[in-house]
Symmetry: C2
Subunit: 191 residues, 2 copies
Amino acid sequence: MSTPTKSERTRLTAEDWERGALDMIADEGVNALAIEALSKRLGVTKGSFYWHFRNRGALLEAALQRWEEHDEADVLAKIEPIADPRVRLRALFDFVARELPSHRIYAALLKALDHPSVLALMARVSTRRMEFLATAYRDAGLPAATAQHRARLTYAAYVGFMLINMTLGLPRLSHDEFDAYVDHVTETLVP
Amino acid sequence: MSTPTKSERTRLTAEDWERGALDMIADEGVNALAIEALSKRLGVTKGSFYWHFRNRGALLEAALQRWEEHDEADVLAKIEPIADPRVRLRALFDFVARELPSHRIYAALLKALDHPSVLALMARVSTRRMEFLATAYRDAGLPAATAQHRARLTYAAYVGFMLINMTLGLPRLSHDEFDAYVDHVTETLVP
DNA sequence: ACATTTCCATACGGTCGAGTATGGTTCTGC
DNA sequence: GCAGAACCATACTCGACCGTATGGAAATGT
């Protein structure tokens, strides 16, 4: 009855390191991602790490790519099929409320734009999400140019909100306040 | 005819170090602010630095405080007296277009929220600016609660725009595109 | 003019974390 | 049940900075 997926005392794989790296990023930020600290967290030593990866940058790159492909894509996958643009956009904002691991990582990455890899990733993600929003607004009947602007504004509001509420240590909105805010935003931004 | 303000071969003061630090932050980011590198930049050695400051943290703290008091305050000072809220908000957005040193630093700080001092500063600045916006919206006739939400939304859009356009390496908007965007934003957000 | 303060150079010690070298242990195929 | 591969531990080196110690040069008062 050996359960190899259980994290008891089994040997590690590259994927384990990547997941561990993402956990660590979510908890302590990108700059805190040190391989010796992560090794301790995983119950091994550096010797293990340097068998799986060439160096620290390779791990970060792999972890970010994993996040981009999995978590990031999941968000759009769950929202994209929603037909009504109003509901679709509303769903997008609602995602921010829940403290999904994906969003915790997003917020952590927002704090680490110093790093070139993180910067490049966020640039890709941002353009992708803005295009998604532009499509939604066109579906809602806005002319192309207006939809483009509104998409930019909406994404800016989104990322700005993430920054203000999750990244900065400002007093968090209560549940009711957040609902009222989201209502206000949808009324203001969604045609 | 000695011109002591000229940066030829004069001795340094604490203020010089603070300004130099801000320049360096604007150019290469907060994490690149190393005292030996800054010393070289200023044409002296570490020995000078440790006469003026206790350590690196003290310099960063002083530089940030300087920015907060001077550059930061200047922005509001120029905008606050504008009576018409529409024009006032418009002016605020217009400031983003110009590559003022103050904004370059703001963008650099946005990339370094990992650092506690930077985080605390940005939290202060954000609340201050949001309150400023809330006042503007109340002056424009919005009810208090709505004004609060709209202020949050506007500031989120502002900081998000800074992030997308200045911090991330995305293709910058042309002058015309920017104007069109600002028009769209003011029409959408300003009552 | 000379003493004192102010400012800077040089040289050193100390830390933190990345990366390497090398050998030991555990798995897997045959 | 052993050979080779996969995985990990231990013990280093090395570079980048921070911070300190100390003496010298430049300004400034008297």
